[in-house]
């Protein structure tokens, strides 16, 4: 099969060959080389700035880490103090505090105590 494929004669494409004009090729290669080396220099300079920044960033990051390490325990303690005590269940359910106190005692309340507990706080 490959033998058959090789039997298609070539079309002469030499006129498309860019190396046929040595003067033009030389000019093209000269321009390419000049721009290429300039691009390499520019990249190296950019790389130099980045390296410099990286050099400064390391001590800055180390200092930030130190500050954080010192501040964290203090912040943690302050946060722990700020946490409010949990509310009693009777407060959460909206039961008047006096009534709750009566419920916790073992003796039977008087009518007046009950009246005060239920209505006393809201009475005029």
């Amino acid at each position: 099969m490959n033998d058959d494929l090789d039997h298609e004669p070539p079309v002469d494409l030499r006129s498309l060959d860019p190396t046929r004009d040595p003067a033009r090729l030389g000019a093209l290669l000269g321009a390419i080389t000049a721009d290429a080396m300039a691009a390499r220099r520019a990249r190296a300079e950019r790389g130099g700035v980045l390296v410099e920044l990286a050099g400064w960033s390391r001590p800055a990051l180390a200092a930030a880490a130190l500050v954080l390490a010192v501040a964290l325990p203090t912040l943690w303690r302050a946060r722990a103090r700020a946490v409010p005590a949990p509310l009693p269940a009777t407060d959460t359910m909206g039961i008047p505090r006096q009534l709750a106190l009566i419920l916790h005692t073992s003796r039977a309340p008087t009518v007046a105590e009950l009246h005060d507990a239920v209505l006393g706080e809201s009475a005029p």
Binding site: P9, V11, L13, S15, T19, L29, R40
Partner: protein, 199 residues
């Protein structure tokens, strides 16, 4: 025309100095080393660029940009012995971008302008016309057929080398070449592309 013995600088006959040496020297700042490298691969890069732009002026621009980009990123070429396929990938990507942006900008006049040398205006005009016909005939091929026929018949690459550059098998490279030549001949008709070079 092309033979399968491959050009100087192919895998069958290692170029001197080797690519790896030129790349190392370029990395160390040698402009001469890079120019040697560019001279070695300019025709290859041009063939790939022309295959995707179908325009000589655009192909030259693509080659320029691609070589500059390759130089800029030379540290990223981790296998210097695979410089040619690496370069071709850059060329192909640049050429596709240019082709995509150029759809409305047809520059047939530039074809004639770049063909002229000024020594013999009549001959320059004939070569310009010939190039235009060839480029028009190439436009009837698929991009991979153009790449294969230009790499084989202009840059004189072997099918094994073309397979590595294009990313196909040697057998498919032969198939593409066969089909490309047939289509080119059909597109050119009775026009003899050799008549101007038998002087």
């Amino acid at each position: 025309m092309a033979t399968d013995s491959g050009p100087a600088g192919s895998a069958t006959s290692p170029p001197d100095p080797p690519d790896a040496q030129l790349i190392a020297a370029t990395r160390a700042g040698s402009a001469a080393a890079f120019e040697t490298l560019a001279r070695r691969y300019y025709r290859l890069a041009f063939a790939v660029a022309l295959a995707h732009t179908a325009n000589r002026a655009d192909a030259e621009d693509v080659c320029h940009d691609a070589f500059v980009r390759a130089a800029e990123r030379l540290e990223e070429c981790r296998k210097p012995d695979r410089f040619a396929p690496w370069l071709c990938t850059i060329v192909r990507n640049r050429a596709r971008n240019v082709a995509a942006h150029r759809r409305v900008r047809r520059t047939s006049t530039l074809e004639h302008h770049t063909a002229a040398s000024g020594d013999d205006p009549e001959r320059d005009a004939r070569i310009g016309e010939l190039r235009s016909r060839l480029v028009a005939a190439l436009a009837t091929l698929s991009p991979v057929q153009r790449e294969v026929v230009l790499l084989h018949d202009v840059d004189e690459r072997t099918h094994d080398e073309i397979a590595a550059i294009v990313g196909t098998s040697s057998g498919m490279s032969r198939q593409h070449l066969f089909n490309a030549r047939k289509k080119l001949r059909a597109a050119l008709g009775p026009y003899d592309t050799r008549e101007y070079f038998n002087e």
